[in-house]
């Protein structure tokens, strides 16, 4: 880095770790939003995840090659971030599973079951018969 400012490795590590902790908080916000998974909440969740992904992408590309390996603090912070992401995935899937289950139930109420036990498809094409 002949023309740039030299940043000591320890300082770089501390900054990276702090940044990852910020991202963890951001993903934590997304996780909290999913406790009430309205469409609006889901949109807000997606924007936070997107922001976190962009920031992490920037952090990833800013780490110099030959970055001090075995940066324990950063690995721990990244591990915590992954746990937070896993929590988001669980809540996201939980909401999806709720709606899917309800859809299956509603579908079976409307059209019964097929021979293999899954809800039958309902024909959505509509006809109106008028009896005089």
């Amino acid at each position: 880095m002949p023309n740039g400012k030299h940043i000591p490795a320890a300082s770089l590590e501390a900054r990276a770790e702090a940044r990852v902790r910020e991202l963890q908080a951001l993903v934590g916000e997304a996780r909290t939003l999913l406790t009430n998974p309205t469409n609006e909440a889901l949109d807000a969740c997606r924007s936070r995840l997107e922001e976190a992904a962009n920031a992490l992408g920037s952090l990833h590309s800013s780490l110099p090659s030959g970055y001090p390996s075995r940066d324990r603090a950063l690995v721990v912070a990244l591990g915590a971030l992954r746990s937070e992401i896993a929590g988001v995935q669980i809540l996201l899937d939980g909401a999806a599973a709720f709606y899917t289950g309800w859809m299956r139930l509603a579908s079976s109420m409307a059209a019964g079951y097929t021979a293999n036990g899954s809800p039958a498809r309902t024909e959505t094409q509509r006809r109106v018969l008028v009896e005089a």
Binding site: T35, R82, A96, M103, L105, A106, M109, E123, T124
Partner: protein, 479 residues
């Protein structure tokens, strides 16, 4: 859950269609007496799937709404059950973790470390009386540490056994309340909002203890099944659960002297332990039948604590008895340092003691060889700290490492349970909010919202995948 919504469009379409059918039915009812009204019909068409086909028949708007409410309630109860499992597991493991101090200053690892150090000191001055006495004292301390650890495990097992009995009693009590509430419905209290709320509250409490499914019958009573299979309440009949601390008939004990597992027996006398997988009861069963026996043993396994106690005692005794106390003539062979109750593999840690007959002067330091080494056995014992031979290890680990692994496993399980509990608490909140969202929304509106949800879900899910991969990539880079 990438393929989760593969059929959503079709299903939402079905919901939309169903709503229109209901509209038509309601319109027909409303206009049934209007002169000249032309009755409309909007048939549902199902895809052919077998020779007889299936048609809904008899579903009304009220049934649909009721089904949705019940579905949302059941979802809350399922999340409660999962939370109950994790709360119990987290609490039990947290208590257990306190018994596994990996500090080298205390407990089994501390005493073991001290004994190995004293072996080392003795090997330097094999004839020194004080060094020999230190070995005996440390051996005594190690035996007591194993006894204490075994007593702690035994207490944890006993406490958990009591918890299981209390939980089963609580399940039976709540099932009794539901039976009484069913009786009130049969007695004519159908549609009583207070009773309805009371029943939902009872069901929610019950779901914390076990995975239950509740279905409302045409007469308004609630049928409650455990794990969707075993009846707890049907109408005004209650089927009590029982606990049995015996080995099942088809699985006789394989380890002598080990305690029997806890089994849950349903009202028909059937062993339903295997299907109790959620709720506090499931958490307690897992601790009692799986986690604690893996350490302290039971009728089917020795347990790692006993395995370690036996391995340490046997190996030290083997080394000492292969040596000589004095050259003689005739040479005086070494005697064992430790004793324990033979024939009961699950009692080794509890009964481990220093041989009453041994004195400091009877510690065999001499390896008769060849080659003859005057402090050979003492050196060999000191070498147990850094084993060079499989005979000095347990499953490839030194004694200290083996204990560390045992403690780490408990710690990891405890941490996992706490992390999962944190997410699960949010899942319960989510289920409650989803239940609220489902109320008062028309099926048509819900179908439209679901299409939007699918799109929002897909976008968020992709972001989660990207973020997770990026995080892993960064971890790989800095690890």
């Amino acid at each position: 859950m990438s393929g989760l919504f593969s059929a959503l469009n079709t299903s939402a379409g079905a919901l939309d269609t169903f709503e229109r059918v209901l509209d038509v039915i309601q319109s027909n009812v409303a206009n049934s007496s209007t002169p000249g009204y032309a009755r409309q019909s909007l048939p549902l068409e199902t895809l052919p799937m077998n020779s007889t086909g299936t048609l809904p028949g008899g579903v009304t708007a009220g049934e649909m709404q009721s089904a949705r409410d019940q579905y949302a309630e059941q979802n809350v109860r399922q999340q409660f059950s999962a939370q109950g499992t994790l709360e119990q597991t987290s609490q039990s493991l947290s208590n257990l973790e306190l018994n596994f101090n990996v500090s080298t200053d205390s407990g089994v690892p501390g005493a073991l470390n001290q004994l190995l150090q004293d072996f080392s000191a003795w090997s330097v001055t094999p004839d020194d009386g004080a060094a020999r006495q230190s070995v005996l004292d440390s051996a005594q301390q190690l035996a007591q540490s194993f006894q204490q650890a075994a007593a702690n495990m035994s207490k944890a097992s006993s406490d958990t056994g009591q918890q299981i009995q209390q939980t089963v009693a609580q399940i039976n009590l709540l099932a009794g309340q539901l039976r009484g509430e069913n009786q009130q419905i049969i007695d004519g209290h159908t549609g009583d909002a207070g009773l309805d709320a009371q029943m939902n509250s009872t069901l929610e409490q019950l779901s914390e203890y076990a995975d239950i499914t509740a279905t409302t019958q045409p007469d308004g009573t609630v049928t409650v099944l455990l794990a969707g299979q075993s009846p707890l309440v049907i109408g005004t009949n209650q089927y009590n659960l029982n606990v049995s601390f015996t080995t099942p008939p088809g699985a006789p004990p394989t380890v002598a002297g080990g305690t029997a597992p806890a089994r849950i027996i349903d009202g028909q006398g059937k062993d339903i332990t295997a299907i109790v997988t959620q709720g506090q009861l499931a958490g307690q069963l897992n601790i009692y039948n799986t986690v604690l026996p893996s350490i302290g043993g039971n009728a089917y396994q020795q347990g790692s604590l006993n395995l370690m106690a036996q391995s340490v005692a046997d190996r030290i005794n083997q080394i000492l008895t292969s040596g000589n106390i004095s050259d003689g003539p005739p040479p005086v062979p070494g005697i064992p340092l430790f004793t324990y109750t033979a024939g009961s593999p699950t009692s080794v840690a509890r009964t481990l003691a220093v041989n009453n007959a041994i004195t400091p002067g009877q510690l065999a330091a001499i390896a008769p060889g060849p080659p003859y080494v005057s402090n050979g056995t003492a050196l060999q014992l000191a070498g147990l700290a850094s084993p060079q031979s499989p005979a000095d290890e347990i499953n490839g680990f030194s004694y200290a490492q083996f204990y560390g692994n045992m403690a780490a496993t408990i710690g990891r399980q405890s941490q996992d349970a706490q992390n999962q509990l944190s997410v699960q608490q949010q899942s319960v909140a989510q289920a409650r909010n989803l239940r609220s969202q489902a109320q008062g929304v028309s099926l048509n509106d819900e179908a439209a919202a679901l299409i939007q949800f699918q799109s929002a879900y897909d976008a968020s899910s992709k972001m989660v995948t990207v973020l997770d991969e990026l995080t892993q990539s960064t971890i790989d880079m800095v690890r």
